[in-house]
């Protein structure tokens, strides 16, 4: 025990001496704590793999996501047929052309899964980014200025909070879908459509309607963030270093941006990393009920929905997107937990 303690102390001393003269770096320390956590390294590796797959989709995917030969529809891969219920063998087409089989239009399931990361991941990251951006600004203003401003701004958040979020998203998506479907040039809706086309082109998914999903999630995701930011600021703005900054004549903007925001970034990023699986799930849910991305863009939600309809006869169609979604959830949950422990060691073990 003594030796262990000594080595631990020696290590600490070593780390300290390495750092001599250099300022303590929050991010470097956090990184060290993060890579010591095995589950989060695994999650991070998986997340990185998914990101790579989505960036390199055209290179990695064996076929095109929207083109298939209906003669090859419902092909079950040879290696899987033995694992499926016995009676399927009697009627199913088997083949080795598609690693994960093909769907009802003969499109390659694997390629659709790979391109599907171009829907899921941007939704997760954009959701987190929008929530962070809106929530941070809103919470900063509300918390820092306090008084009547705070009161009114927080009442608005309260009302928004009482809204059933999912129902609001469903309504908005139904609205976006039909309002922006087919419009004449010169209107607001037309501009939205152009931006949407641009976003789709950026992601390499023609006619996916991704912007509307970003908007739907963004509009409903920021309230929690605003509350968190406000709470953090309320406790920070009474601290001595803020007082000191006031003393030397720093303006409000400078105090917020240079002194307060860096101190609350940790918990905010952690909260949003942990929220990413939720955003991905929301998109999957929306696509599942037919309000998400437009076909033929491959969303995992659409794939699960199509697969669930054919589950009795061709279970392979639902199996792979379901597994992919679960793995993504695992990855981001582990990564989020690890980031929380790394950036905010005080929070470790809670919830």
């Amino acid at each position: 025990m003594t030796t262990q303690e000594l080595t631990a102390r020696e290590q600490a001393a070593l780390r300290l001496s390495e750092r001599m003269g250099k300022p303590a770096n929050l991010w470097l320390d956090a990184w060290r704590r993060l890579i010591r956590n095995r589950a989060s390294v695994l999650g991070g590796a998986l997340a990185l793999l998914l990101i790579m797959a989505s960036i390199l989709a055209p290179q990695v995917a064996p076929y095109h996501y929207a083109e298939g030969d209906s003669n090859e529809a419902y092909t079950v891969p040879n290696w899987l047929i033995g694992l499926l219920p016995g009676n399927i063998k009697a009627y199913a087409k088997t083949g080795d052309k598609f690693l994960f089989g093909s769907d009802y239009l003969g499109r390659d399931v694997l390629s659709r899964l790979i391109y599907g990361t171009r829907v899921s991941l941007p939704v997760g990251f954009m959701g987190a980014f929008t929530a962070l951006a809106i929530g941070l600004v809103y919470g900063c203003i509300s918390g820092y200025y306090g008084g009547r401003v705070d009161n009114i701004m927080m009442r608005i958040v309260d009302i928004m909070y009482a809204f059933p979020t999912m129902l609001l998203i469903i309504l908005m998506m139904a609205f976006f879908k039909s309002t922006f479907a087919d419009v004449s040039p010169g209107t607001v809706a037309y501009t939205f459509n152009k931006v949407n086309d641009f976003v789709d082109k950026l992601l390499g998914l023609r006619g996916g309607g991704m912007l509307f999903i970003f908007m739907g999630i963004g509009i409903t995701a920021w309230m929690g963030m605003a509350r968190l930011t406000r709470g953090q600021i309320l406790s920070l703005k009474e601290k001595e270093f803020v007082e000191a900054a006031h003393m030397i004549g720093a303006g409000d903007m400078r105090i917020i941006i240079r002194h307060i925001v860096p101190n609350i970034m940790g918990p905010c990023i952690v909260a949003q990393t942990l929220a990413i699986p939720g955003y991905i799930n929301t998109e999957v849910f929306l696509s599942f009920i037919g309000l998400g991305v437009d076909p033929p863009t491959p969303s995992w939600g659409t794939m699960i929905s199509e697969g669930a309809q054919a589950i009795r006869s061709y279970p392979h169609m639902v199996l792979f997107p379901a597994i992919a979604l679960s793995l993504t959830m695992f990855a981001f949950n582990f990564l989020g937990d690890g980031l929380r422990d790394a950036l905010d060691p005080k929070m470790k073990g809670t919830s």
Partner: protein, 306 residues
């Protein structure tokens, strides 16, 4: 206490008002009437239909009529896609099924989550703890949209123990209820464990032990009651998750519930049904949130209701 409840009930009025206005506005801002068909109807027929359903009135009048109908006659209006049925008929036929499913799932969520969380906390760092936390991670990473198909694959298609889909017999209810409840049970288990671990280190637990109470009494009467408080706070969001979960689970298991009908009517652009369902769900969620808050206040006497 009474003042607190009254205040919370009054707070419902603006919330429900905003929900109804936004729902109504969004539903009516959608271009294209409900009578757009593949084959265009003659203008006179559309005009007559619109007159019949009061769609020729100004929007504010339509809103007042709609809300007035709900408040005075509990009438949620007609169904555009079917002449013989009203939204009320749909509620009567399909809502009970969803309610059954939701209640079963909630029972499963609490029935698995709480014991698992308590066991994990009492036997920390043992097999039970790892089992509990394993289930918790599984429940969080495997959403019902994934769990539903996997359950069908395993228990219905491969093992043949349970029917694939449908509703009505107990055997048909098992899989959907589990698919819906497991995710919530994971959240409950995690939270119960965390709060139980915190509570059993408190001084009053030591006091209870010191005055000679049996371990059982200490745990049930003193620890569990207090450990429940944080768990009660998440029941609100949990209800919301269950509601959205029913949309998915009913679709996967072909259950004739409100959620399945709701999705069909979105696809068919049958807006009175969509609106009625959203208002109904919103009312349910807001009321359940209120109930959770009141329970919370009851459980924790330290909370002041001002």
């Amino acid at each position: 206490m009474l003042r607190y409840i009254v205040r919370r009930l009054l707070w419902l009025i603006p919330v429900l008002f905003f929900i109804s206005v936004i729902t109504f506005a969004l539903a009516h801002a959608v271009p294209g009437g409900p009578f757009d068909r593949e084959k265009a109807l003659p203008a006179e027929i559309i005009a007559n239909l619109e007159k019949h359903y009061g769609l020729d009135q100004p929007v504010w009048k339509q809103y007042v009529d709609y809300i007035g109908g709900i408040l005075t006659r509990f009438d949620f209006g007609p169904v555009y896609s079917s002449r013989s049925r009203t939204v009320n008929d749909i509620f009567r036929d399909h809502l009970p099924v969803s309610a059954q499913l939701g209640i079963l799932a909630l029972l499963i969520a609490i029935g698995i989550g709480v014991p698992l969380g308590v066991l994990a906390a009492l036997k920390q760092n043992t097999f039970w703890d790892y089992l509990g936390m394993g289930v918790a991670i599984f429940g969080i990473a495997v959403p019902n949209i994934v769990l539903g198909p996997l359950l069908i694959l395993l228990f219905a298609l491969t093992l043949g123990w349970l029917p694939v889909a449908g509703w009505g017999t107990p055997a048909k209810m098992i899989m959907p209820a589990f698919a819906l409840g497991t995710g919530s049970s994971a959240i409950i288990a995690r939270l119960t464990r965390a709060s139980m671990l915190q509570v059993i280190r408190e001084d009053y637990i030591r006091t209870a032990r010191a005055k000679g109470l049996s371990e059982r009494t200490v745990m049930v009467r003193h620890a569990l009651k207090n450990a429940f408080i944080p768990v009660a706070t998440i029941l609100g969001p949990l209800f919301a998750a269950l509601v959205t979960g029913t949309f998915v689970v009913e679709q996967i298991f072909a259950i004739p519930g409100m959620g399945k009908y709701f999705i069909t009517s979105i696809t068919n652009r049958d807006y009175p049904v969509v609106m009625g369902a959203i208002l109904m769900y919103a009312l349910f969620l807001v009321l359940s949130n209120l109930m959770v808050d009141i329970t919370y206040a009851f459980l924790d006497p330290r909370i002041r209701y001002t």
